[in-house]
Symmetry: C2
Subunit: 208 residues, 2 copies
DNA sequence: ATGGAATTGACCACTGTGGTCGATTTCTTG
DNA sequence: CAAGAAATCGACCACAGTGGTCAATTCCAT
């Protein structure tokens, strides 16, 4: 982001980012209130407009930030040497979880972003900014020979991905509602239940 | 809903409902604009406040309407004699699709509703308004003996449900973006791909 | 002590707010 | 057709909140 903005206290920076992400997630652009943003970020109106010259600019910088953050997180944290598909999916889920832990509205913001972007623009952005990363995530160096040969591989992969996404969403939902601390152990245990089942369903029987 | 409101031209009624659902889905209550609602519904300000005495009342009536609509749709359209789990899931998806076709923002509105409701309140509402319907949908008169006995039944059912939900969401998303007509045939064909795969994965082998 | 950067919040012209209400159109009934 | 009732309109209101500005203040390195 902006030079001025980049060099400030990271804690304050994240307060501003989170406040803005929340406001823009919950309301469409015109109705998102900069007053609200500064109030929740606990900074003055003047400061926000010192960092960003206008509401529009703030929004655009937020878009950039979001995309770059996700790309970086994936690129830096995925262990490309691991060849098991489920481990890859698990890693992506973990990364996602950590991002959301730091920026709770990052995901809502991104979904809103995608909704307001045309297919053509999306395709272009994905190529420009992340190269073939999107294609790579669930394919690069994966040992597909573990899958049963009598099933539709592409569809199976999709179901596995969807399962983890839904699992994440639902866990997040109930956690927020219950206002509980992350019980990491329990969460992983539950995830393991689905992994085990899906392996039984889609992988070849052990012992060949 | 209100007597005055119930007896009007259904086409106009749906215009108002859809406009309100959209506005409340896209913005939190305070920022949802009645001006916007009447503009999109193509009625006058006065008329809206003739039907509903306040913005608050409109919102609450909309909640009631949404819940009742979904309950009725399920109760009236599910064929409880069909014992195959996938057929049941398929039926629920179809019902959902038809509802969304008539009220495009019904689902977004409901999700927003659920997010803003406490667990306790949700449980209570579900019991009062729908009885044991929620429990019943995916269990009543289902032939579970078709499932492999070596898998976690509960988890398998969840995965199947999630797959259909995700499939629905993604289809909806791309359809809206592409501004295409519902190609019903193609959609069903693609769904069948997942059904086939999941049956292969979770059902007992045929001929036994 | 000083100068520049960071930060504040009162202030502004203006847009949009939920809701009202008398006027007008449309419908119903004799 | 008359006349009253019901439905519908939209100009109007007091006011809350808008994005953005800027002179004043605080902070901090030198």
């Amino acid at each position: 982001m902006d030079n001025v903005f980049k060099n400030i206290d990271p804690e304050k920076r994240d307060r501003i980012i989170n406040s803005a992400l929340e406001e823009f997630s919950k309301n469409q652009f015109e109705k998102a209130s900069t007053n609200n943003i500064v109030k929740n970020a606990k900074i003055s109106k003047g400061l926000l407009f010192h960092y960003f010259n206008s509401k529009k600019e703030l929004y655009e910088k937020l878009e950039e930030f979001t995309i770059q953050l996700i790309i970086d997180a994936i690129q830096e944290n995925i262990d490309w040497n691991i060849t098991d598909f489920f481990e890859r999916v698990k890693q992506v889920s973990m990364i996602k979880g950590e991002l959301i832990y730091q920026y709770p509205y990052l995901y809502d913001f991104m979904i809103m972003m995608i909704e307001n972007t045309s297919i053509e623009e999306l395709r272009q952005r994905s190529e420009e900014q992340s190269g073939d990363l999107v294609q790579k995530i669930y394919k690069y160096n994966i040992d597909f020979s573990k899958f049963r040969s009598d099933i539709n591989l592409e569809a199976a992969m999709t179901i596995i991905r969807w399962t983890f996404e839904k699992f994440g969403e639902e866990s997040m939902g109930t956690l927020i509602k219950a206002e509980k601390e992350f019980d990491f152990k329990q969460l992983e245990q539950e995830a393991e239940k689905y992994i085990e089942l899906l392996k039984k369903a889609f992988y070849k029987k052990e012992g060949k």
